[in-house]
Amino acid sequence: MNDVKTSTGGNKPYIRVDNLKKYFHTKRGLLHAVDDVSFTIQKGETLGLVGESGCGKSTLGRCLIRLLETTAGSVVLHDEKAGTDTDVTKVSSSVMKELRKKVQIVFQDPYSCLNPRLSVWELIAEPLIVNDVFANKNDMRARIRELMNTVGLAERLENSYPHELDGGRRQRIGIARSLALNPEFIVLDEPVSALDVCIQAQILNLLNDLQKEFHYTYVFISHNLSVVKHVSDRIAVMYLGKIVELSNYKELFVKPTHPYTQALLSAIPVAKLDVQKERIILEGDVPSPINPPNGCRFMGRCRYCQEICRKETPDLKEVLPDHFVACHLTPVI
């Protein structure tokens, strides 16, 4: 069993994920999208989740807020004020409706995540209406104005439709929707991947400012390591449904320990000249997550692969304080 603890003292983590699994039935077999993943998230921190397409990071993000039903495992949300623990994956739908106010998501594609028939105003009002937050129309109006202001949408845009706006503004609408109910925890699923660098920087700054102001806890999902590094406190690297390395953001970049993390880091193109770094070019493609074989998921592309890697699936072990790696050969590498 993966025993993941953080050494932040006796404080109970805000979110504790234990042995989370999400399998999909497909025609070709069982797709292991998320396979036995355990980790914790502290209140107010940003956990970065990186990996290539198909590694299960988005599925994991959706499981955390129960937009997908999990196959096994638990996601326990700790309420500090009430001192209660709630397992998000098992609560009834009425409890979940209450919980939805606390856990929110921002989607990747600002083009498809907004109903094209609703205006900006209606889009931001939706969470408020659905949850009967305001009895009074004027209060709601004030709140929507406030939200638009918070995310930097000019008031005159309120009757515009999403397709009339650019990607950055649409993503601001998505963010405003997720903030409307005063959440504690927000899953950011590739929120800037569809945007140009300049707009991306604006949105990253906005997310950063919002966290400072409202103390949100973020899970930031992205395939872009430089972006993840910029926003995260800790980073989890995923490969084929498993977390292969989890550590403080600085340490991950200074001392990447899992061979996959090393390759991933070396593959990022850096916008600088004369960067001295070893290029590790991985052979082949990510294998299929349908009925994966035993052993380390990375073995087929790993340059260190040994006998043991083919037989046993490595557990996520704490190799350094607060630095977890799932590799049999950690001490060797």
Partner: protein
């Protein structure tokens, strides 16, 4: 803060504050841009007006026979001439609009409600319910629609109401398929998930997100469907399974005149022209609506 930047600098992009317009007004506004669609709409509105005020507009009662004026060609007295019983063709066409439009709209209404419900259920719940419903629809689709309508009409017997049912039921599979298709594609859209993420109930998701977004193809299909329903009803009346004499239905008039087509072509010409123009108008309107209903094509 970064967000302020957006509000202050709007480099070159002139987003003007828009007035809120109702959905219907918006569609009409955009429909105005297409002359063909506007022509279609005008023709349909005119026909509806004629149908409603048939009593006032028609120069003669539709069943009034005048054996002294049989087979008369158009004249001042009878603008479009008379038929084999000396009945005024114009009056019969005017009253016929009543029946034909009724048949068209009500038959499509039946098809839309039944087919729409079946399609929505199949699309939303998928799995075996979907399979069951759609296989039955596939079987019905494999029978030519006119043949199916003939079979149903023959089983129910002639009459206006039975005609509507026959034409309506025979069109059900088309609507079921279209509704299911659009529900299926919209159900997978990310904004449905986004709505669920903020706590929307299933009912709200269906009413607020799925239905409005799947309306466009359904409305378009319905307009075109009215045309084919009128045509179908005309066909059934033509072979004697629809409206019975002396009720003036366009198809029935066409059928009545066919014996005399060599000597008195105007008996078939005018009902034929009216049917053609009505269907053309409905098709133009349908095409225009398809564009007008797509919010992305705005301006």
């Amino acid at each position: 803060m970064s967000n302020v930047a957006d509000t202050i600098h709007d480099a070159g992009t002139a987003y003007v504050r828009k007035k809120k317009r109702g959905a219907l007004a918006e569609v009409l506004f955009r429909l105005r841009k297409s002359p063909l669609a506007m022509f279609g709409l005008c023709v349909i509105l005119l026909l509806i007006f004629v149908a409603i005020f048939a009593d006032l507009l028609a120069p003669y009662p539709y069943q009034k026979q005048n054996l002294a004026h049989m087979f008369e060609t158009p004249s001042k007295q009878f603008l479009l001439g008379t038929d084999e019983f000396g009945r005024d063709i114009l009056s019969r066409l005017i009253y016929g609009a009543r029946i034909s439009l009724q048949v068209g709209f009500i038959a499509v209404g039946i098809a839309l409600v039944v087919g729409g419900m079946l399609g929505a259920v199949a699309g939303y719940y998928s799995g075996w319910i979907d399979n069951g419903i759609m296989r039955v629809m596939d079987v019905l689709l494999s029978i030519p629609q006119t043949l199916l309508a003939i079979a149903i009409a023959a089983a129910l017997g002639p009459g206006l109401f039975n005609l509507m049912i026959a034409v309506g039921i025979s069109a059900v599979p088309n609507y079921a398929r279209i509704v299911r298709g659009s529900v299926l594609s919209i159900r997978e859209m990310e904004f449905i998930e986004a709505a669920r993420a903020v706590g929307s109930s299933d009912l709200r998701i269906i009413l607020k997100h799925i239905i409005p977004n799947s309306m466009a193809p359904i409305i378009v299909q319905s307009t075109l469907g009215v045309a084919s329903a009128i045509l179908n009803a005309a066909g059934l009346s033509f072979i004697g399974l629809g409206i019975q004499p002396p009720y003036p239905e366009w198809g029935a008039m066409l059928s009545g005149g066919r014996q005399y087509i060599r000597d008195y072509p105007h008996l078939t010409l005018y009902p034929g022209l009216v049917i053609m123009f009505t269907i053309l108008a409905l098709n133009f309107l349908g095409d225009g609506l398809r564009d007008a209903l797509d919010p992305k094509l705005k301006r």
